[in-house]
Amino acid sequence: MQEIVTIENLEFKYLGAGDKALRGIDLSLERGRRYLLVGASGSGKTTLARCITGLIPHFYQGEYSGEVVVDGMKVSETPIQRLAEAVGYLRQNPEEQVLMTKVEREIAFSLEFRGLTTEEMERITRRVMENLGISHLWGRTTDTLSGGELQKVVIASMLVLEPKILILDEPSAYLSPMAVKNLQGLLDTYIPSQSTLLVIDHRLDYWIGFVDTVIYIDRGVVRYMGSPGRLLNLLGSEEHRLNIPLHIRLSHDLKQVVNTRGVNS
């Protein structure tokens, strides 16, 4: 599989911060795969996402070393606007990412800087809205939308640029368990199979069945990257700050019992 993101020995310390937010990160993300980045609050999840989008080092300043390459572009040498064509980044609160008053203008905003004609922009916007099942929102003002509708609009505004990697930062923060299920259904249906998905969430139980790979980050260091099932090893091997779902914990404990006492006991 081809890699879309390669990170080598990445370290970052925010301006004025005491400790490094990221320390010696080495990882690569492959095209068409789904990743879940988990870790406790303050572990460096969002900082890592900012490094992929280019917000670090271009927007947030600090001590930056190492190398991040996204779709063949060195992040430290490429402007965010250029990287935005490859990376879509949806943050926790969709409301803070809405820039325009009208839904269709919000979705088309990124296209307004691509040298397209009004007709081309309208065609792309209509297609994406149709794909996401939000055509009926055309003409509505963004402040009248429900949370779920707003999230779809923000996703649509990223999809118009056909990003190769989509990063969702804490998407479950403002959603009910049912709304998270709906969001997963939406991602399943409408995100192109060749696109890479990186979900950042501390709710392991919501996403563990949805992703191919889990990346566990703790105090700025990647402690684990592999299949969700093998996350179990973390339980026995080291102290962790993760909210492991009950069924995984139960399964792990049962295995422990079987291993130590045998099947009959």
């Binding site: 927007f59 803070e96 809405v98």
Partner: protein, 261 residues
């Protein structure tokens, strides 16, 4: 109450003729009324301008309830202007004029801001040659009025639920009480502005980039009619202001005499 203050100036989509007009036409007419308000130094003419603006906002904009909220929010400022002028001049009628001017200036701006989508406002400014960074700053400020209104309500509710008293004590105590609202509001506003700046970067915005607005604007028949009618009224008021004032005063005097009889 805290929310009403900000909500009174927020754009809300409505199906009314004034909303359908080209923002450039509305901006021009708003400026015409503002210039007229500044130039006219007669209470009768100011009263006529108020009537015209009210007719525009109520009949063409269907903004009755919104206008009431708007005026309730402005009432303390208008009272302050009136009292300050009265204390200085001691003349009741002379103090009324600046208050009328303030009212008319606000209502003139309302014919544009209450009926124009912030996105269209940004495009209007861009078409007038303003840089995109400034037009976006304007439209984003307008868009975030309701977000800040909600944040303000949340902060007030949170502080009240903790037993914080806002409206008790003397003036200095009250001012001190309000810092508990203002400081979190400023911090949240700064945080939100950083988030918006991040979003702009991530959505491909850059200073000096070629920009093609998604919405196109076209001046139509009704826009031209709105401009011509407004200019005609303004010119008539400026040229025949004295005569109109005399006629109005005569009517008023006769009415008062009839009432006395």
């Amino acid at each position: 109450m805290y929310r009403i203050g900000l909500e009174a100036f927020r754009f809300e989509e409505r199906d009314a003729p004034l909303y359908r007009l080209d923002p450039r036409a509305k901006l021009l007419v708003a400026f015409i009324y503002m210039i007229l308000t500044i130039l006219a130094n007669s209470q009768a003419i100011q009263l006529l301008i108020t009537a015209l603006l009210l007719a525009t906002l109520l009949l063409l904009g269907r903004l009755g309830r919104k206008l009431v909220k708007n005026l309730v929010t402005l009432a303390p400022l208008m009272t302050l202007v009136f009292l300050a002028n009265y204390l200085v001049s001691g003349d009741l009628m002379a103090s009324l004029l600046p208050t009328q001017k303030l009212l008319n200036l606000v209502m003139s701006l309302n014919t544009f801001f209450l009926t124009t989508n912030p996105d269209d406002f940004a495009i209007t400014l861009e078409k007038m040659g303003m840089p995109l960074t400034i037009t976006l700053a304007f439209s984003l400020s307008l868009r975030f009025i309701h977000v800040l209104a909600r944040v303000l309500t949340e902060i007030v509710e949170a502080q009240l639920s903790r037993g914080h008293k806002l409206d008790s004590g003397g003036l200095t105590t009250r001012i001190r009480n309000y810092t508990a609202i203002l400081i979190p509001l400023i911090i949240i506003s700064v945080r939100k502005s950083i988030s918006v700046a991040e979003t702009l970067e991530l959505r491909g915005f850059r200073e000096g980039a070629r920009h093609t607005p998604f919405t196109t604007m076209k001046i139509g028949f009704w826009d031209v009619a709105y401009i011509i009618v407004s200019i005609s009224i303004a010119t008539a008021l400026l040229i025949y202001g004295g005569e109109i004032e005399n006629i109005l005063l005569e009517i008023l005097t006769r009415y008062l005499e009839d009432m006395a009889i």
